[in-house]
Amino acid sequence: MCLAVPGKVLAIEERDGPLTGRVDFGGVRKDVCLEYVPEVRVGEYVIVHVGFALQRLDEESARASLELFEQLGLIDEEFGDAWQRAAAEESGTTP
C-alpha cells in the first residue's frame, strides 16, 4: 500500500463524482481517481497510489519503473490477494 505505481491511462470517464479513469499497470487494470491530475489525457502515464493518480509521468521512466516492479514482484504485492498472503504468513509458508 506504500507503493506508488506508474500506469497508463486507457480511458477517462465522464460522470458525476470524481474524475475517474481506467489505468493499465503492465496488464493489471484498475479504476483510478484522476481528480488530482485533471489535465491528464488518454495515453499518458500517471503515478498511482491507493487508487489515486498523484502526478503525471513521462512514458520512458514509467515503462522502466513498471518493468522493474514486475521483475521484483511488486505488481503482485500491490494488486494481489492480501488474504492469501496473510494466510501464508500466518502458517509460515513464506520465507
Binding site: M1, C2, L3, A4, G17, P18, K30, V32, C33, E35, Y36, V37, P38, I47, H49, V50, G51, F52, L54, Q55, L57, D58, S61, A64, S65, E67, L68, Q71, L72, G73, D76, E77, F79, A82, W83, R85, A86, A87, E89, E90, S91, G92, T94, P95
Partner: protein
Amino acid sequence: MRYIDEFNDPDLARRLLAEIHATVTRPWALMEVCGGQTHSIIRHGIDQLLPEQVELIHGPGCPVCVTPLEMIDKALEIASRPGVIFCSFGDMLRVPGTDRDLFRVKGAGGDVRVVYSPLDALDVARQNPDRQVVFFGIGFETTAPANAMAVHQARRLGVRNFGLLVSHVRVPPAVEAIMTAPSCRVQGFLAAGHVCSVMGVAEYPELARRHRVPIVVTGFEPLDILEGVRRAVHQLERGEHRVENAYARVVRDEGNPAALHMIEEVFEVTDRAWRGIGMIPASGWRLSEAFREYDAEHRFDVGGIRTEESAACRSGEVLQGLIKPVECEAFGTACTPRTPLGATMVSSEGACAAYHLYRRLGSPKEMNPVG
C-alpha cells in the same frame, strides 16, 4: 560487486557507485525516511555496495509500522462489532494488536474487507445502507489525498453510514524529532519521493538549514537511492546542507496543489503518537471540525482504549535508527513474520521484515526469494 547486474541499468549503477566511492573521505550517516526505500536497500544489498564510510540508517517511514498500538486495538474493537463492515488496506491484516490482528477478527466472524482504494470502501457503504462501514485511514502524506477524497465524497453524496478511523502521520515533524533526539547520529536525509509528490518540498529548507543537514528527495528504485546517496555525500563532503530534488520525474517543487487543497479542507494538524516512538507534536492529521461526524473514533466510543507495547519489542529504536533489527534479541527467534511482536516485522516496508526476508542467513544473495 555482486548484485549490480540485477539493477535495471547496471552501467549507470556502477558509475554512481564509483563516484560515491571517489567522493567520500570520511564517515557519514544518512537516514532514508521511507520504508519502501529501506526494503529496496536491503533487498538489493545497496548498503553493502556503498563505501564502508557511508552508513544508511533506517527511518520511521513505514505507515503500517508507526500506527499506534492503541489505534490498532481500536480498529480490532470496531471490526468485531456486529453490524460493522471494516475495510482496510491489505497491509494492516497481520499488524499485531494487544491480543490479535484483523486476520483473526475475520476468522472469528468479523466482516473485515480488503480494499484497494478508500473510494472502494465508500462504495461498500453505499451498497450496504443498513450497515456501518468503517475505513482504516492510515498512512503518510501520500495516502492523505485519497482518504480525504473518500470523506469528502461521503459528505457530498450524503452517505451517513461511512466513517474513517484516522491515523495519519506527517514526515517533517518526525524529521524534526529525530534531529533533536540526544542520541541522533543522522547527518543527512533521503526524503521520501512519493510524500513529496503530494506535499512538494516547501517544508524542508527550514529543517535543512536549522539542523545543518542535506535533504535529498528521491524515489525507492535502486538507482534513485544511489543517486540520492551520491548527492547527499557530495553535499556533506563540501559542508553544504541544501534541499535537492533528485526525483524530478515525479516530484514538482510545489507538490500537487489540488491534493494539498483537499487535505487542507478535510484534515487538521494534530499531535500523534507513533508506535514504538511516542508522541510527536503536530505530527499527524485528524478530520477537521466540519467532517468530525465521519470520525469513527467518535462514532464508536472507543476513546477509552489504552494499551502498552510488548516490552521485548525494540521497534521504537529500530524506527529511530538507533539499532539495526538484527540487534534486537527477539529478532528471528521470538519474533518472526509468523509470530510478530512488533509491526516492523509485518509490513513489507518494515525494517525487521526486510532484514528477516533478506538477511536472516548470511548474504542477501542467498536469501533472495523468487518473485
